[in-house]
């Protein structure tokens, strides 16, 4: 039975999650040098187009279609065949199946867009398009099936992932790590200055991400109900506390509270609460967010020590924040908050932490290996990087024949 309130809420949430990808584009674009501002925006923006097309043709079917051995959906819903306006028996049975499909589409869009921050300022646009098409098909859809698809093996195991800690954040963070290992550093990394060219743009992007995240997490309740309200609250609380904790950590270690630190902290908190949002109390969200800000800041600091060039810290924020969030779900989850969830370690069920750990390891191995193989093959066939000369001139002019600013 279609419920009007639920349907309205999910459609609005879908729009909110859609808005996150342009928000991400601004978040990233402010941090690059001005010769790459448009190319960086474009890498996120065009994914809205590309992944939507893939999603309606075969992506949704592979992720949510009839189960094949718990690993992937079948292609029988190719082109949304049978995905109609009445509710699906398997997913969100109070809203039209197409509403569920388009809500999930927005998740499928932002996940690969997150990865683009890792290889910002050096990836060839044509190679990016092919990579995203392959990654969405071969990595995202199966992973979404494992956790959320009817019959998916991680879901059956009892892994808790409310809104995509493993599927969205760990997968993109780990894939980002594989990508930077293959694509390697930007020219001049460690010698030249890579100073963000427009931090107000980054802060604007952060605000849009935070706003959109209410659709991401509260919408994942798949109904307009108490669970949605709870997820909304934990989401906001974690982001708020993480922006403070990152800022204070930085203030103590580097002597100044920076705006980029506060913004990065907010995103780290949002990432960490994502798997936990509908399973934990607001006070647990304070702890999850507070630690997320510090953990991700440390991760970003470690990057410089390890010497790999994850340009915009996808590994440090999404990989690490997502991992912490997935583990934290195994610590703080409580059936008093959500009877359909499970108890975590702190509520007398240590087994949940082990299941969470397994789901993290499985996601990491799968995403890392698949991304590594896809990029190795693409590198051999078409090359992943722009030429050195193009990199120095900037991707805006060389890839798109445009410049972001004319003075």
């Amino acid at each position: 039975m279609i419920n009007a309130g639920d349907t309205a809420f999910i459609l609005v949430s879908s729009a909110l999650v859609m808005f996150m990808t342009p928000g991400l584009a601004l978040f990233y674009a402010g941090m690059v040098r001005n010769k790459n501002v448009l190319a960086t925006i474009m890498q996120s923006f065009i994914i809205i187009g590309l992944v939507t097309l893939i999603w309606v043709l075969w992506g949704y079917s592979l992720a949510f279609g009839p189960d094949i051995s718990g690993v992937v959906g079948s292609l029988s819903w190719f082109g949304l065949k049978g995905v109609g306006l009445s509710p699906s028996p398997d997913y969100a049975n109070t809203i039209p199946h197409q509403a569920f499909m388009i809500f999930q589409c927005m998740f499928a869009i932002i996940t690969p867009a997150l990865i683009t921050g890792a290889f910002a300022e050096r990836m060839k646009f044509s190679a990016l398009l092919v990579f995203i098409a392959l990654w969405s098909t071969l990595v995202y859809s199966p992973l979404a099936h494992w956790v959320w698809g009817a019959g998916g093996w991680l879901g059956k195991l009892g892994a808790l992932d409310f809104a995509g800690g493993t599927v969205v954040h760990i997968s993109s963070g780990v894939s980002a790590l594989a990508a930077v290992l293959i694509i390697s550093k930007r020219k001049g990394y460690g010698k030249e200055q890579f100073i963000p060219h427009n931090l107000p743009m980054t802060i604007t992007g952060t605000a849009i991400l935070w706003f959109g995240w209410f659709g991401f997490n509260a919408g994942s309740a798949l109904g307009s109900n108490g669970l949605a309200a709870g997820a909304f609250v934990t989401t906001h609380v974690a982001a708020a506390v993480a922006s403070l904790s990152w800022m204070f950590a930085e203030w103590i270690l580097h002597g100044k509270p920076t705006t980029l630190g506060a913004a990065s902290g907010a995103v780290a908190g949002l990432v960490a609460i994502t798997p936990a949002a509908g399973f934990v109390s607001p006070i647990s969200a304070v702890i999850i967010g507070g630690l997320a800000g510090v953990i991700c800041y440390m991760g970003v600091l470690a990057k410089s020590k390890l010497g790999y060039d994850d340009s915009l810290d996808v590994v440090g924020i999404h990989g690490l924040g997502g991992t912490w969030g997935a583990l934290a779900t195994g610590l703080f989850a409580s059936t008093a908050v959500n009877p359909d969830g499970a108890n975590g370690l702190f509520f007398g069920n240590p087994g949940q932490l082990w299941i969470q750990f397994l789901s993290i390891v499985a996601t990491c191995i799968f995403a890392f290996v698949m991304t590594f193989v896809i990029l190795k093959i693409l590198d051999a066939i078409m090359g992943l990087r722009v030429s050195e000369e193009e990199e120095v001139r900037g991707l805006d002019v060389t890839q798109h024949s445009e410049t972001g600013y004319s003075f």
Partner: protein
Amino acid sequence: MKKIEAIIKPFKLDEVKEGLMEIDVKGMTVTEVKGFGRQKGHTEIYRGAEYRVDFVPKVRIEVVVPAELLSEAVKVIEHRAKTGQIGDGKIFVSSLEEAIRIRTGERGKEAI
């Protein structure tokens, strides 16, 4: 005629301008510039990565005065731009051959 070129701290610009107007200097040109002297640059921090920025923002003012006003004008700039901290800037003085007011064609002191 003399040309005074002074590189000063940006926040001192208003004080210097008011001082020069008080002694009847008729006009000035101001440019935002970047450079370094003994002050060198500063450090910026982005997500924990520290970057040295070698060029410090300054304001350059150019004033042309009749020779008899020179010492007073220089004194005003020197006093008003001074904080006593490193990075207060410098004043350069040079002789100027000719000045022309384009609208009227006046030459020399009349054109200043």
